[in-house]
């Protein structure tokens, strides 16, 4: 009874009701979107690297090492000598290692020198290994394997020639033009920084840098050609940027970490990726909590809009209330009517917001995945989401009880007097 009255009353003030619902819907879509995004971001973050027990680099900060070795963000302050790397790699408890050499770029994408062990042992999102959509791992010195984003963004296919720029600028004038690479493999998308990486053999990094002295171009006439570089007997690097370690037994991880951190001939740092990822997330998570708080305030603004709409309608509805009372409505009916209206507005707003959010996610998911490697799974509402949405409706009802209380008071004082 009261419910159908409330429905019809809202239908009568259709444009105001629709605008109110729209305002709530947009705010709910934002809140839900942020919530989904942060779940997806957290998952995709935690999934960046797995199966790696330790990451070893020159002694700096734990986060710094994680950022440049896994996320290709920032630079190493120092390198790891080849001797130290070999010593640890040959340790009986170590199953495998992946050397990493960073420092060059190709049209804005980081170039990473490594070995074929990278394609064999690097895992992400739990148990998932790197997969080649086309081609195969390195076979020759100037072979290059591209991450999915790199191939897509630059339009490279198998056999394309790639020239690596020295340094990290997007547009670098110091190109290793004389030593072009050839694309031999393209990896499947992973949603991790691997997609945005240009992989070359570790030795090739040494080869292209042979005539470079520091960061400046070599003098004319002092260049060493590509074939000459290839013929150089020893392309073993003197140092690498970092390396990843897989242990034979996970139990030994902590012992090995301590041993590396106390390694005497070189200041090294070993981190456990999971621990460092959590620490990094806690840092990044502040921003995402801030987003959530902002989205919460937007929802509050939406509900306040509803409150305004109901409150401003109260005076013009005093006559209606008096009529309802004359046919036998009790003051609590009036109260219920207004709370129901608020509840209907809030609930419709929430429903429309959920629809809007899923619509946008559905439309934006491919774009987000392509451009940012952020995989937004189109999952249903989690219990947490449902609780959040329920809380919004309850908040709507709660806010609606204020105008409802005022109408209740009005109707007590107006009685059967029709006021305009």
């Amino acid at each position: 009874m009261i419910f159908s009255l409330a429905l019809r009353s809202l239908g009568n003030r259709r444009s105001t009701a629709l605008l109110t619902v729209a305002a709530i819907a947009v705010s709910v879509a934002l809140l839900l979107g942020v919530q989904k995004m942060r779940t997806a971001a957290r998952e995709s973050f935690a999934n960046t690297v797995s199966g790696v027990d330790l990451i070893v680099g020159a002694r700096s900060g734990q986060l710094n090492l994680l950022l440049y070795s896994v996320f290709r963000v920032g630079d190493a302050t120092a390198n790891v000598s080849w001797e130290s790397y070999q010593k640890i790699a040959r340790h009986p408890d170590v199953a495998w290692t992946i050397p990493i050499s960073l420092g060059d770029s190709h049209r804005g994408f980081r170039v990473l020198g490594t070995t074929n062990d990278y394609f064999r042992h690097y895992h992400y999102a739990g148990e998932r290994a790197l997969v080649f959509t086309e081609g195969k791992p390195f076979a020759a010195l100037y072979d290059v394997v591209l991450g999915a984003d790199v191939a897509r963004a630059l339009g490279y296919r198998l056999g394309s020639e790639v020239v690596v720029a020295h340094g990290l600028g997007n547009v670098s004038f110091a190109l290793h033009k004389d030593k072009p690479f050839r694309v031999v493999g393209i990896l499947a998308p992973t949603g991790t920084p691997v997609d945005r990486t240009v992989h070359v053999p570790l030795e090739a990094i040494t080869a292209i840098h042979q005539d470079f002295q520091g960061a400046s171009q070599p003098a004319i006439g002092a260049r060493i050609g590509a074939s000459a570089a290839r013929e150089q007997v020893d392309l073993t690097p003197q140092s690498i940027t970092a390396f990843m370690v897989g242990m034979r037994s996970k139990v030994m991880t902590f012992t090995m970490q301590r041993a590396i951190n106390e390694y005497r001939s070189e200041p090294l740092l070993a981190i456990i990726p999971g621990v460092a990822l959590t620490q990094l997330w806690n840092l990044v998570g502040i921003a995402d909590t801030a987003l959530m708080v902002i989205a919460g305030f937007v929802v509050l603004a939406g509900l306040l809009g509803m409150l305004t709409a109901i409150l401003t309608s109260l005076n013009e509805r005093r006559r209606e209330m008096a009529i309802l009372r004359s046919v036998g409505a009790r003051p609590r009916h009036i109260f219920t009517l207004l709370v129901t209206e608020a509840g209907l507005l809030a609930a419709s707003g929430v429903l429309a917001g959920v629809a809007l959010c899923y619509g946008l996610l559905f439309a934006a998911a491919p774009l987000l995945e392509r451009h940012y490697g952020l995989v937004l799974p189109l999952t249903g509402l989690s219990t947490q989401d449902a609780a959040l949405l329920g809380a919004i409706v309850v908040a709507g009802l709660f806010m609606g009880s204020w105008p409802a209380w005022r109408a209740y008071r009005n109707t007590l004082s107006d009685g059967l007097t029709l006021r305009v």
Binding site: M1, G11, R319, S326, V327, G415, L416, T417
Partner: protein, 232 residues
């Protein structure tokens, strides 16, 4: 048989104001059609509030159709009003977002007793019958939004609503003041005829004495309200 309306030793004053109403004995018999004349400020709205049970008298008793409503709780009085009284007001009597039929059957939604008194429980049929009896038989009236009706039509819809479910007492508060003279007489004739058919008591409140001749009895509020005599 008890009276339709019987007010005894009734007094009422708004907080911190001199007494507005002081009625020693005011009685309307069942089926009687009474014209109560009261200029604005004579305590008319207050009396209607007391009869409708939305106000509580400071002292005295109000008996409606044999029930003393003064000892009842506020919500019991609300229920009593819904069950036994029909109201018609001056203008804009209708809920704007309900259709004509929904406006007419509204009392039955709040009062099971009124709904029970509708023959065969056919609310819509009864609403159509009342509209027809009040000269709103045209098919399209029922389906039109109430805001599109003329004021005269709106008042008839309001009358049909007041009559639905055969309440014992119809209270009409200046229902004709916004109608022209012809429509006024038409409206009153139809209303009285229908009250007669249903055996309802009609208390008609207005300041327009010209209508008095159509009623069984005319009462001046000033005559029954001793508070006004003192003030005068």
């Amino acid at each position: 048989m008890t009276a339709a309306i019987h007010a005894r030793e009734l007094t009422y004053a708004w907080p911190n104001k001199p007494a507005l109403l002081d009625v020693r004995d005011f009685r309307i018999e069942r089926g009687e059609r009474v014209f109560l004349r009261g200029p604005s400020g004579s305590g008319k709205s207050t009396l209607l509030g007391l009869l409708g049970g939305v106000l509580e008298p400071d002292s005295g008793h109000i008996e409606l159709a044999g029930t003393d409503i003064t000892p009842l709780s506020a919500s019991a009085r609300d229920r009593f009003r819904g069950d036994h009284l029909g109201f018609i007001f001056q203008m804009f009597n209708l809920i704007p977002y309900l259709g004509v039929l929904d406006n007419v059957v509204l009392p039955a939604r709040f009062s099971a007793a009124r709904a029970a008194r509708v023959p065969n429980g056919d609310l819509e049929g009864e609403a159509r019958r009342l509209l027809d009896a009040l000269g709103l038989g045209a098919r399209d009236i029922a389906s039109r939004p109430v805001t599109e009706l003329s004021i005269g039509q709106q008042q008839r819809v309001a009358a049909a609503r007041a009559l639905l479910g055969k309440p014992e007492i119809i209270i009409a508060d200046e229902p004709t003041s916004s109608l022209d003279a012809d429509a006024r007489t038409d409206f009153l004739n139809l209303l009285m005829r229908e009250c007669g058919t249903q055996g309802a008591t009609l208390l008609f409140v207005s300041h327009d004495l010209a209508l008095g001749g159509l009623f069984d009895r005319t009462v001046q509020l000033a005559q029954i309200n001793r508070a006004l005599e003192v003030a005068a």
